[in-house]
Amino acid sequence: MSSVSDRMRGRVLASAPGDGPRLTLDGLERGQRARVVGYGEEVEPSAARRLFDLGLVPGIEVTMVRRAPLRDPVIFRVGDYEIALRRAQSRGIHVESVQ
């Protein structure tokens, strides 16, 4: 019988749909809203599972709040809370714009 952490490690997250124009989280302007659709293929599986556990789940609404004075990292409002991500992470999160 596999342990809980083994099962958690075995979770497979679908990559973002490959077609159409790509918008990633790091491309958002201040105040712009978007909806998460998935993670890029270059994102390591362990990193993708962590982003999922941080609430960056497909379907959740994200708003770009502000940049650090040195441009990086950036604060995003994810669902009901705020989190700072470096560009290295936000680049791998695919989103679609919300009007």
Binding site: M1, S2, S3, V4, S5, D6, R7, M8, R9, R11, V12, L13, A14, E44, S46, A47, R49, R50, L51, F52, D53, L54, G55, V57, P58, G59, I60, R66, A68, P69, L70, R71, D72, P73, I75, R77, V78, G79, D80, Y81, E82, I83, A84, L85, R86, A88, Q89
Partner: protein, 654 residues
């Protein structure tokens, strides 16, 4: 996995007195009010230790539920997932995962899972994973007052039905929720469990969380306007940077200026105590041993206590308000150059005062690799103990009126020493980060930005108390042992008056006697025997004794050199130092403190880990002797090589 199971209770397993008691683990994500809950359940009776073999602090405490029912509560590190990416999170898995645990730690009988009502959407994912362990769960819902203030809504009875486990609302600062919780905890064997555990498959868990939130009529809290207003100032490119610099300035000033008089009191108290002993104990060696080795040794540790208490008070306040996350956010880009992240900045900053609190402050780093890299670099920051040594050496090297351009040359050298220390610390941290990161996956960087809060005095108090008491207990023993050994080496073998008289020493002259004892002590023989090592740097046995004695604390070097100089010329020790010449060897007759040798000494002090308290804290914080041994080794090699380089360069220039 752990070769060093500790039976005394502070390390590996729980203390024997807690055997057979029901164990509750407090589990939750960071910023879920987990520590506040733990502190209000156990008060200040929590014991801290390390989990065996890892650098993760462990907190557990006993609490009474009723007349004759005591239980044990353990505060597990904050965690976002049972899919661990840091040693802290691995601990949570090891403790909770009954199929997979590889540490000899006690599996809890039940869990108290803290869920922040304002971040419920994300927190339900963790709850679903925790329910997979099969352990009984009671949900402790926190921050419901914040939820209401921000116009959010949650139907708690419906939420309880949807989850199928007991739910207790505990709002920090209100006792009635805690009373309910104690009531529920007393009946932990009859907690309800859901018929079917929630799913953990990515798609299904989303659907499950949505349905739970929908049936409990959850309305997301609005943006916290107060936090947004503060952030628009504190994170503003210009105003925010100014606020940050001002905060750091005040931080620094408080640690140095407010602590200084308190440190003076501690010093005065111990010298008074030492004087008292000298006055009342008439057996010469015993009196000297008690006043110098024992009281002097304890005093030299306790003198750091005011700085440590103040530092942790300030850090706890900054953390409690939420500013620390903002400071780390502002500094992240700078720290990224060394492969570290914003949170490491606080530890390095603290190390300007003293590496001990600096190393202790690395606890705020979630990544064990960052923590180790920062710990390895922190002792290179110019701590306050190096200052008296630098002042002495720089004033020996340069006359007061020497200038570099419009600046005072001594000031320029001091600034260069501070700058070089900071840059070296960053460089070393970067190297260790690279070295320890090989193989493993890169930890993604993320940092939650919690809303601003008024800090809880109980949390602040608990944090300061934990830091101060751990410092006293663990480090006192190590520095005590070191100073006692050093004192013995510097003062033995005993010399009879007859022997000294025979050697032509005036036994009435205290300086002459101490000089004779020092010259013929075990330390002097050691100083001479290590001469081959230090000879290339231009050090003779007298400097070697100084370096040896500075192992207790760097500033002792000044006192030792003073002692040596006073022995040669009691009237003008400073002049004695300046005119001192090399006694033996091929270079006999050369001024001992010429510019190349002083440069070598300065560089040696900049890099060498001559501080047993730091070694002790490294041992405590890293959980093994491996890292202090590595730190001591690499710093010695660095110190020796760079000191030789400095000597060669200065000799070529002058």
């Amino acid at each position: 996995m752990s070769g060093q199971h500790d039976h005394c209770g502070s390390g590996g397993g729980s203390s024997t007195a807690n055997l057979g008691l029901t164990r509750f683990a407090v589990v939750g994500s960071p910023n879920s009010g987990k520590t506040t809950l733990f502190n209000s359940l156990t008060g200040l009776h929590a014991k801290t230790g390390n989990y065996p073999g890892v650098t993760v602090a462990r907190y557990e405490g006993r609490m009474r539920l009723g007349e004759n029912q005591s239980v044990v509560v353990e505060d597990l590190p904050g965690s976002y997932s049972l899919d661990p990416i840091s040693p802290d999170e691995q601990i949570v898995v090891d403790v909770l995962d009954t199929d997979h645990h590889n540490l000899r730690v006690d599996v809890p009988d039940a869990m108290l899972v803290t869920l922040n009502a304002t971040t419920l959407r994300r927190s339900l994912g963790l709850l679903a994973q925790l329910q997979q362990t099969g352990l009984p769960i009671c949900v402790v819902l926190t921050f419901t007052d914040d939820l209401t203030r921000r116009n959010g809504r949650l139907d708690i009875p419906a939420f309880t039905r949807a989850l199928g486990v007991p739910v207790v609302t505990v709002v920090a600062g209100h006792r009635d929720g805690l009373a309910d919780l104690r009531h529920v905890m007393a009946r932990s064997d009859s907690w309800t469990t859901p018929v079917v555990a929630p799913p953990t498959d990515p798609a299904e868990v989303n659907a499950w969380a949505d349905s739970v939130l929908k049936s409990s009529r959850y309305r997301m809290p609005e943006i916290d306007k107060r936090t947004r207003r503060i952030d628009s100032l504190v994170l503003h490119p210009v105003i925010g940077t100014a606020i940050f610099l001002l905060t750091m300035f005040v931080f620094f000033q408080t640690i140095f200026t407010v602590a200084a008089p308190l440190q003076d009191y501690v010093e005065q108290f111990f010298s008074w105590l030492g004087g008292l002993v000298a006055e009342h104990v008439h057996i010469g060696w015993l009196s000297a041993f008690l006043s110098q080795a024992v009281i002097g040794g304890v005093g030299s540790v306790l003198v750091f206590l005011p700085q440590i208490v103040l530092l942790f008070l300030l850090i706890a306040l900054l953390e409690g308000t939420g500013y620390l996350a903002r400071a780390a956010f502002l500094m992240d880009r700078v720290m990224a150059r060394a492969g570290l992240e914003g949170r490491a900045f606080v530890a390095l900053l603290s190390s300007f005062a003293c590496a001990i609190p600096g190393i202790m402050a690395t606890r705020s780093l979630p990544s064990a690799r960052d923590r180790l890299a920062t710990m390895m670099g922190a002792p290179l920051m110019t701590c306050s103990a190096r200052l008296p040594v630098y002042i002495l050496l720089v004033s020996l090297m340069l006359p007061a009126q020497a200038r570099v351009g419009v600046f005072n040359a001594r000031g320029v050298v001091m600034f260069a020493l501070y700058l070089a220390g900071a840059l070296s610390a960053m460089a070393v941290a970067a190297v260790f980060k690279k070295f320890t990161s090989r193989g493993g996956p890169v930890l993604p960087f993320y940092m939650e930005m919690p809303p601003y809060q008024v800090p809880r005095w109980r949390n602040v108090g608990a944090e300061v108390w934990t830091a101060a008491s751990a410092f006293l207990r663990k480090v006192t023993s190590i520095i005590m042992a070191t100073t006692v050994v050093l004192w013995v080496l510097l003062n033995l073998p005993m010399r009879g008056e007859a022997e000294m008289a025979a050697a032509g020493v005036d036994t009435g002259d205290e300086a002459a006697v101490s000089s004779y004892v020092l010259d013929h002590s075990y330390a002097a023989s050691i100083g001479r025997s290590v001469e081959p090592v230090f000879e290339p740097l231009g050090f003779d046995w007298r400097i070697n004794i100084g370096i040896l004695s500075s192992l207790a604390a760097r500033e002792v070097f000044v006192a030792t050199l003073g002692q040596v100089a006073a022995a040669e010329n009691p009237e003008e020790p400073a002049e004695a130092l300046r005119t001192m010449t090399v006694q033996d060897g091929p270079e006999a007759g050369r001024p001992l403190f010429d510019a190349p040798t002083i440069a070598a000494l300065l560089v040696f002090f900049m890099y060498a880990l001559q501080c047993m308290s730091t070694v002790g804290v490294l041992r405590r914080e890293s959980g093994s002797w491996k890292w202090p041994a590595i730190a001591f080794g690499y710093m010695f090699v660095l110190a020796w090589v760079l000191a030789l380089a400095a000597r060669t360069v200065v000799a070529a220039v002058t």
